[in-house]
Amino acid sequence: MKILVTVKEVATVEDEFEIEGTAIADQYLGEDLNEWDDYAIEEAVQLQENGVADEVVTVTIGPEDCEQTIRQALAKGADRAIRVWDDALEGVDLLDVGAKRSILQEVIAAEDPDLVLTGVQSGDDSWGATGVSLAEELDYEWAAVVNHLEHDLDDGIAAVRRELEGGVEELTDVELPAVLSIQTGINEPRYASLRGIRQAQRKPLDVQTLGDLGVDESAVEGAVTLTDMYEPESESDVTVWEGSADETASELGELLRDKGVAP
């Protein structure tokens, strides 16, 4: 069985930052492996260690800069990686779900995996739609927000547990090939071992252009444009009193009365 894991390098932001136009100024940005993808990689690697999967392949849409993040996934145990980039993507401001779907769909067509694991969402853009939309396009079965997966995958069925609102959980059987979007907490992602990091340097990392995949350049021009970015005004404050309950209880009472919470 082959598993394909989508891996994204996301932007991280410092606590204090400034916005320039429709973006956060560069000096406040860092980069990291998308948290949800870390769990998806771990799940795939565990499936491989348990003898269920034969091969774990990662796919990333991103420039050369993000190879460090891809190597991180390889160091944790993925077998090989595909990175898709193209001059046509260089100028795209906002890569929307449709564009990602068009690209990933072709990678999947070429790789023909039995199982595709994506993160529920990415920590920076938070579209939260790539996995499901991809399944729809491919006509694969899918399950979103998966927080447990049975590791036998007998008879081509993935038995999954999904997280619903309000702490309710749902058990579902999904027929393979399928796309599962993985929720944090499904497992405990490992740190890359020193040996893993060493081996990762030698694992294949294949770079493909839109042309290689047969994706038309127009597919990446999304329908969505970013029009503004701002920090919302805070609507509430926090008040902290230091001291014992005796000293501070009456102050709290007064505040609650002031705010109209207590009569």
């Binding site: 460090q68 740190y191 020193l194 990091i197």
Partner: protein
């Protein structure tokens, strides 16, 4: 000339940072206060391969070079020196086995250390033997096919948590010349007559275990002798280049950690209506701390790189060790000063860095001994 790290080295650095931030930092104060060995963190670190990372791959290690291990030490020490030492010292003493051990000894002793199943130690110092290693009086006498070890070792890292120790013993009291007649013998802690008394009340690196070892007619098989009988003094000295580069890296790490904490505090703390980082006096402190740290780092990397190339770096390794340990102490001192009163209590890590820094000027050859070595090399005197 090439000053950059490889992609792999950068990757190691980042993964160690992640590990330290998530697993070490939240527990650092507790282990310092309680003065206990962080077994769980060490186990996790072993899983990641941070324990015994220089042990060759065929014995389960990562086969990392001196420069790689210097990078790891720098990162770990920049988050918490006590826990960092607990992790990295798990393979103390194994250098001798790697270099001089037989195939059988390597399998017996290196594999369990690399797997995180056993902890080793190096026992050289004694109550009356510190800087003058040639005054070692712990003796081992041959009796049939066994060595019988008697004596005391002092200040031994991992003393009460270690499974075995590479012990420098006098095996030929009649040998001529003060550097002859010593052997390195492995003593396991479960042998009859072995005792370890934990030393408490240390000023710093309190998570790391330190003990006095007492050998009372401890019998070990003759296969436990490492390398050449009676020639261990030279065997021991051979590793000082690498291990001193390692302690230099600890100093760089401590300076880096103290600077990181000072930078953060200086930007947060406001006095006279502005952040204290706006005052030139504070800015100059930060600038000097960063510059000294970078200088120590370059000296350390250069020493490590030369060890890796197989060059003779005795002078350079001592320079790196002396300079980096002094930098650690000075930078930690200034970092505390920047914290003002808040730096004088353990609400902030800087108080710990200040206490932890000092050890780097003492172990693995004191500052004075490093200067003796440097001067001896400069003046072309043998030792």
């Amino acid at each position: 000339m090439e000053f950059g790290l490889t992609e792999e080295q950068q990757q190691i650095r980042e993964e160690v940072q992640r590990f330290a931030e998530n697993e070490i930092v939240p527990q650092a104060t507790a282990f310092d206060e309680e003065e206990t060995f962080p077994h769980d963190i060490v186990d996790q670190a072993a899983e990641m391969g941070l324990v015994g990372s220089s042990i060759p791959i065929e014995y389960g290690g990562a086969g990392y070079s001196t420069l790689d291990t210097v990078i790891i030490a720098e990162e770990l020490f920049s988050y918490d020196p006590g826990i960092a030492l607990s992790i990295l010292a798990c393979s103390f003493g194994t250098e001798a086995i790697m270099e001089f051990g037989t195939e059988g000894q390597k399998e017996r002793f290196l594999e369990p250390v690399a797997a995180g199943e056993k902890i080793s130690g190096a026992a050289i110092s004694e109550p009356d033997t510190g800087s003058d290693v040639s005054s070692v009086s712990t003796k081992a006498e041959k009796d049939g096919d066994e060595w019988v070890v008697n004596g005391n070792k002092m200040w031994i890292t991992n003393g009460t948590v270690g499974d075995f120790f590479v012990v420098l013993c006098k095996t030929n009291p009649d040998a001529e010349g003060r550097y002859n007649g010593f052997s390195q013998i492995v003593v396991e802690s479960d042998r009859d007559g072995f005792e370890a008394d934990k030393i408490t009340g240390k000023m710093g690196i309190r998570a790391s275990d330190t003990a006095e070892l007492i050998f009372d007619d401890v019998r070990v098989p003759e296969e436990n002798l490492i390398g050449t009988r009676d020639a261990a003094f030279m065997q021991q000295m051979q590793f000082f280049d690498a291990t001193r580069a390692g302690v230099a890296a600890q100093g760089v790490g401590i300076a880096k950690g103290a600077l990181r904490n000072a930078l953060e505090y200086a930007q947060d703390r406001e006095q006279f209506g502005q952040s204290i980082s706006e005052f030139q006096a504070i800015q100059h402190k930060l600038a000097e701390m960063a510059t000294e740290t970078e200088a120590a780092r370059n000296l350390t990397y250069k020493a490590a790189w030369n060890v890796e190339q197989g060059n003779d770096v005795t002078k350079l390794a001592s320079m790196a060790k002396e300079h980096a340990s002094r930098t650690a102490v000075e930078v930690a001192n200034e970092a505390l000063q920047i914290h003002g009163g808040a730096g004088y209590v353990n609400d902030f890590p800087v108080e710990r860095f200040y206490r932890d820094a000092k050890i780097t000027q003492i172990y693995e050859g004191t500052t004075e001994i490093q200067k003796n070595v440097i001067a001896r090399e400069l003046l072309g005197k043998g030792f």
